[in-house]
């Protein structure tokens, strides 16, 4: 079985890692609730990237 989600044009920025794997015809194993992407409307709001955060 398969679910396909179609988002309207320019409505979502899908996570780059997912796009990059797909562009290599490589499926990504994911679980329910993992981040998929961010609304374009919210593109000005930068989500914290935990990997680049540092404690000061």
């Amino acid at each position: 079985s398969t679910v396909i989600c179609v988002f309207e044009k320019d409505s979502i920025n899908i996570d780059e890692d997912l796009l990059a794997n797909s562009a290599r015809s490589l499926e990504t194993l994911v679980s329910v609730g993992m981040k998929l992407g961010v609304s374009r409307k919210a593109s000005d709001v930068v989500l914290p990237n935990l990997e680049t955060c540092s404690i000061q």
């Binding site: 079985s1 398969t2 679910v3 396909i4 989600c5 179609v6 988002f7 309207e8 044009k9 409505s11 979502i12 899908i14 996570d15 890692d17 997912l18 796009l19 794997n21 797909s22 562009a23 290599r24 015809s25 490589l26 499926e27 990504t28 194993l29 994911v30 679980s31 329910v32 609730g33 993992m34 981040k35 998929l36 992407g37 961010v38 609304s39 409307k41 919210a42 709001v45 989500l47």
Partner: protein
Amino acid sequence: GNESSKESSSPFPESKGSSLSSRLKDRLHLHSIRRHLHLRHGSGGSGSSAVRKLLDADHFAGIALLTLLRAEMEFKDKWLACVSFGEQTFRTQISDHTDKPIWNSDKKLLLEKDGPHVARISVFETNKLSSNKLIGYCEINLLEFLTQGMNSDFEIIDLLDPSSSDLVVGKIYISCSVEDPIETETGFARRILSIVDYNQDGNLSFSEFSDLINAFGNQLAAEKREELFKAADKNGDGVVSMDELAALLTVQQEKEPIMTCCPVCGESLDVSDNLNNIIHLTLCFDEGTGNQVMTGGFLTDSQASYGWIFKLSEWAHYSSYDVGLKSGSSASHILVFDRRTKRLLEELIDGKIVLSMRAIYQSKMGLGLIDKGAKELLQSISEKQGRKMSSVESAKDIPNFVDFFKGQINLAEAKHPLEHYKTFNEFFVRELKPGARPIAFMERDDVAVCAADCRLMAFKSVDDSLRFWIKGRKFSIKGLLGQEVCSKAFVDGSLVIFRLAPQDYHRFHLPVSGTIEKFVDIPGCLYTVNPIAVNSKYCNVFTENKRVVSIISTEDFGKVAFVAIGATMVGSITFLKNEGDRVKKGEQFGYFSFGG
């Protein structure tokens, strides 16, 4: 053909002198020549140009090619004829409106000493007022028919009135001959080898050949396979032509049988009876491909459930069923990137499954199969499976399923212990404990989340999806969503594909927060959604399969189309939300279960 060389290589002894066998021998010999000429003069038929081989009636086995040529009836109408033989029935096309219908329809029938011999031919008139009304019939003992001396290429047989067998209502012209066994064997080998000729260049690599041997359930040692392959690869370039390999396999099959089970119906083959095996295989393949002029007698449910060509139940339980393709449709294994562990997983697909899927979804033969009723078959098998999986008896399969997918199903996450589930379907759609799947950025509705435990593909545009993944020539967003809900914004939009595997948690969740605007049911087929089918240019699983399109209206993403697509065996789609419901991302939205 060279008659003497064929006889010397045949495993079947010549007649030992019984009168029946002698007559049969003579009859076959004479008739084969006549039949050969007859076919070459273009009376229709299968296109086989085989010269017929003499057979021993005491150990008789052969493919009889029965041809319904034409009939002479007492009035004008549209006509069709049926042949019933053993447990099978086949029919011709419908003729023009005439009193002299012409069909020229062939049917290959298996004749065995202890099998059915009598074919019943029925002729029906068919029109709007009286559809398929039986007008006349006759019965022919094919074994006797083939032993009679005949002076022409065809026989004329009276058609009897079904209500009074004394009354003749017409005449039917038929022809019958026996196919040459060596030609049958070679032809079959050629056909089957073409399935593994993935790039259709007429040559086979060793790995392709090896896949085929595996699929036949043969544990032939690697050295033996290489030996066989090298014998055919005369110039040592690592590939052999199909014709060469077919010839070699035919000889080898007689010395040491390679095929031990029928790939179509799964029946075990008697290793001591090679010709019967080939005949069985040839007929099974013909049934599957619709290769013959006469239609019908398609695979039964039980046949469909056994054998690699169509072993659908097996697909649903194979651990390797779920893996994606390494590089398009030519690969036999699939790479999946585990996002959590950031590891690349390489999973081999069982050779049988690859062959099955390719045979059905990526070959012309498969297309023929799909055209000849596989859609209905998939639907019926899925419905049957649904009933089975919802029965109390099915609960006993749960431990085996869990054991089979050991390491891939985490029972500790399930909401209930194993004994709670009273049917297999209940277990299949099991809920997880609260919190088992943390939802990313739960407080932010502008972040979308994954809708299922699955293998995911994401594309910024449909063009990208067509470039990298979906190869069905007819795929389009409009085709996927249907006219009713499709909009320009969707057509140019982004696409995310969540593919669930049998061992996965089978509930799907909401990827975004918003309001359910509507549900649209789109009826369709139940093809597999495996990458092999998705990657096939012949197959359009996403736009032809049964599906439900829901539209979620959101503040942050505009409208989001959520399409739940049923697949082979798992074709039942249940939603847990209703139109107008306000929903939160991460909430359960519905589930897939076994059924049609």
